[in-house]
Amino acid sequence: MKQMLNDLSGEDAVFGHFGATGGYALAARRAMHEFGTGPETWKKIAVGQRKWANLNPNALMQSKALTEADYDNARWVVEPLRLPDNCLITDGGRAIIVTSLERAQDLRQPPALIMGMGQHNPSTAIAQSSWMAGPTGARQAGEAAFAMAGITLDDVDACQIYDCFTYTVEITLQDYGFFKPGEGHDWLAGGTIAPGGRMPVNTSGGQLSEAYFMGLTPLAEGAMQIMGRCGERQLGPQTRTKSPEIILCSDNGGILQSHTCTLLRRL
């Protein structure tokens, strides 16, 4: 295991730098410096997503409440990231079947249609990056996906954002244009992303509170919500949210080095 850690981390291991939490902690710290974000913003993401997980029988954290005070009292992993800023470690799987609309119309379940996709991969040796505080690949990937779909942010009813860390959710929403740099704290205030909020985000609990299935956690939840298969957490009147016509899903890799945006809609 030690050998594997060393091999994966290359020269970084020499300085005690290992894995994703450290990498995202570097990015999050630079963002704190450049546009004034921090744990006060990230805890709203962790707490909001946990409320969705509490409605999801498949969520690892379904039975565990998370308050802002719990977040404040949680231990550091790699500062500025606390334990609830980190995604879960999960064994399991998730799949999506992609087929033609013609074929999908004969199936038992209503389909979710892919109306736009975009990718952007600003990859580099991450230590040489001068954009750790954004814009990440989300900016151009989002623009491409929205152009393909012919819609704007105003048409989006909910988001399923790749959430390896709370900060990833903030910078992704920010780069898509939901708010200006540093305005995430105010945008998130008052339960914006939680049940009953005006822009639900990560309605399964996400990778922070449901399960970590890489990009399939957000994408599968987006499809399931469009298909109306989400039970107690279903978007619509029962969770005091908009019934979803269009859902934005994101995926992200490396230390914010690659990005995919997928827009799904109801038939």
């Binding site: 030690k2 020499v14 300085f15 730098h17 450290g22 710290r29 550091w76 500062e79 230590a127 040489q128």
Partner: protein
């Protein structure tokens, strides 16, 4: 006790860098065509793709671009160092180096803080470049 932390893997590309560290010189490749100073070492200049390069000796000063404070030891050899700071230092010559910030209060570390290199002699072959806040700066 012998040094039990991971050591750099020296190869033909990075050998001049680690040999420089051993004599307390921070060396980086500079492109002889466009002047770009690069890290990590490579055959091609990432700015202009020239193969013609030499090595310059850095002044060893720069600023902290960003940093992270480890409170968990992912490798047992770092347990006694907790909490410790990993940083990306932007050298005045241009390259950014992943390193540690040492010999200062952890809660005094800030982004854009000026730092200079200090050397940790690990064994006969290896010396690690680490950084500390410049003495002239109020801390």
């Amino acid at each position: 006790m012998s040094y039990n932390k991971p050591l750099p893997k020296i190869n033909a590309d990075n050998r001049p860098f680690w040999e420089g560290c051993r004599v307390h010189e921070l060396r980086f490749q500079r492109c002889k065509d466009c002047g770009h100073v690069r890290w990590p070492p490579s055959d091609l200049c990432p700015a202009c793709h020239s193969t013609d390069s030499g090595w310059l000796i850095s002044k060893g000063t720069g600023r902290i671009y960003t940093f992270a404070v480890y409170h968990v030891a992912y490798h047992t050899a770092f347990t006694t160092n907790l909490p410790y700071a990993v940083a990306v230092v932007a050298l005045d010559e241009g390259p950014r180096l992943l390193t540690n910030i040492v010999d200062c209060q952890i809660d005094q570390i800030k982004c854009d803080m000026p730092v200079s290199v200090i050397w940790e002699d690990v064994n006969e072959e290896i010396t690690l470049p680490k950084f500390t806040p410049l003495a002239s700066e109020p801390v």
